[in-house]
């Protein structure tokens, strides 16, 4: 008898929590725009750490892992493994694409004695819009200035880039099951557009 009472109570105790996922209201989506800015700040910090040659290799590799952890996980399409990538468009017309991990590794191994990266104060995040996958999508845009110098501090290469990052706010399954809709921010592909080479280079 007790066994049936246990089963009955366990089966029906959660029924009140079963309902459709609610639409995210505009106020909540605006909060996620701010959260995205925080995540972009984190990414900017990790990029600075990756490029900082005064740090140890271990610290910089850790920064690569932290940067990669901000991005969407790899996924399978048509039996092929896909990963977020960085598309770089240069003013001379060349366009190249590399996976984000490779992009960060390349940044770690740039052949400059000193690298200086400067950012614009805050990323501009577009409004979130719901996609056909049920997730919400936006774009975060910021400017980055890159300077590569020799041992004496002479500028060897410099450019100013505009970066557009695809942002996905995914429904966190554990909360959705509990009827408490909430989202988690992940980055996707990045478009890097070389806006101006620093004069002389």
């Amino acid at each position: 008898m007790m066994k049936y009472i246990y089963i009955f109570l366990l089966l029906f105790s959660g029924i009140g929590r079963l309902h459709a996922q609610p639409e995210m209201d505009q106020k909540r989506l605006a909060e996620f725009q701010k959260l995205t800015q925080q995540r972009v700040n984190d990414l900017q910090l990790y990029i600075s750490l990756i490029a900082d040659k005064s740090l140890s290799i271990e610290q910089r590799e850790q920064a690569v892992e932290l940067a990669v952890s901000l991005f969407e996980k790899d996924y399978m399409v048509n039996g092929k493994r896909r990963t977020p990538y960085v598309q770089v468009s240069r003013r001379n017309g060349t366009i190249s694409s590399v996976p984000v991990r490779i992009y960060f590794k390349n940044l770690m191994n740039v052949k400059f004695d000193k690298v200086e990266i400067t950012y614009y104060d805050a990323a501009v995040v577009s409004e979130f819009e719901k996609g056909t996958d049920g997730n919400y999508h936006a774009t975060a845009t910021y400017y980055q200035q890159f300077k590569g110098m020799d041992k004496k501090g002479n500028l060897i290469y410099g450019s100013r880039d505009r970066k557009d990052i695809r942002v996905t706010a995914q429904s966190a399954a554990v909360y959705a099951q509990a009827g408490k809709e909430d989202l988690k921010i992940f980055f996707g592909d990045i478009t890097v557009r070389d806006t101006v080479p620093i004069p002389g280079f």
Partner: protein, 274 residues
């Protein structure tokens, strides 16, 4: 027995509480507070219209009050040769710009956030070692559950692209089994580009069967065979409706305040009928 029942009820009450967690939106524990060097604050960075939603906000703000004419003019590409360098607008386009500004500011025209939007993009494609441009027309649609997506309405195949025999088995798979990939946002149309690369097919982005004409099938066959690869988005125009006008937006990435998404052309709808 009474004690067991009390325990059972207490246990039952605790079950829903097991899923109480901190909100995901809370700051992450791995957020390190180190000052990243920030210093760039040129005016163009604030002035630049970085996203289409930003353009719509500025358009609506400039039609909200009577002093919006000048602010509206700032939404046009100031380097357009059709707008006089001496400050005097003298040709047909200039007249149209003046008429547009006058009309939308007087009528306080508002542009809806989820109104009709179309786009025309140029894709750099590789085919058998040569590079060419594939023009794709797109329309933004919304599903019943408010999700947005861009879908292909028409393609203009590169002139040099030959006919290929269709691989019917692969085509069937692409048309019927692949769901529409999420491609709601339009910055550089990177999700669309990525989708073409991932699926080697236009089919997931072309739900309307009447859009699949001869040119579409020609491109589809080339993508499916792997002979054609989409490499980059090289041109990008978006068309928005504003009252009786259609606005063409182009992206101007340059280091000045008048940059980003700006009006590059105007089309007066129903001009003859009025």
């Amino acid at each position: 027995m009474a004690t067991s029942m009390t325990n059972l009820w207490l246990f039952t009450l605790l079950v829903p509480l097991s899923e109480l967690h901190a909100q995901v939106a809370a700051p992450r524990a791995d957020t390190i507070k180190i000052n990243v060097r920030k210093g760039l604050s040129e005016s163009y960075m604030n002035g630049q219209i970085k996203h289409v939603s930003d353009f719509i906000n500025r358009f609506n703000a400039s039609t909200s009050d009577n002093a919006g004419g000048m602010r509206m003019f700032e939404l046009f590409n100031e380097d357009d040769q059709r707008l006089s360098v001496s400050g005097r607008i003298h040709d047909a386009y200039g007249y149209k710009v003046n008429l547009f500004i006058q009309t939308v500011t007087e009528k306080h025209t508002k542009m809806p956030k989820r109104g009709p939007v179309t786009a025309k993009i140029g894709l750099k494609v590789g085919y058998n070692g040569t590079l060419d441009t594939l023009t794709v027309h797109l329309r933004k649609d919304y599903t019943a559950d408010s999700a947005a997506y861009w879908h292909v309405t028409r393609v203009i195949a590169p002139a040099q692209l030959p006919e290929e025999k269709l691989n019917t088995r692969k085509s069937h798979s692409a048309e019927n089994k692949v769901e529409l990939p999420p491609n709601a946002h339009e910055v550089s149309f990177v999700p669309l580009l990525r989708g073409l690369d991932d699926y080697q097919s236009l089919a997931p982005f072309t739900p309307c069967l009447e859009c699949r004409d001869a040119a579409w099938r020609k491109v589809e066959n080339a993508l499916q065979s792997g002979r054609m690869t989409a490499e980059a988005v090289v041109s990008n125009k978006i068309y928005l409706a504003a009252g009786d006008w259609e606005i063409e937006l182009s992206e101007f990435i340059r280091e000045k305040e008048n940059s980003g998404w700006l009006i590059s052309d105007l089309i007066e709808k129903n001009a003859v009928m009025k």
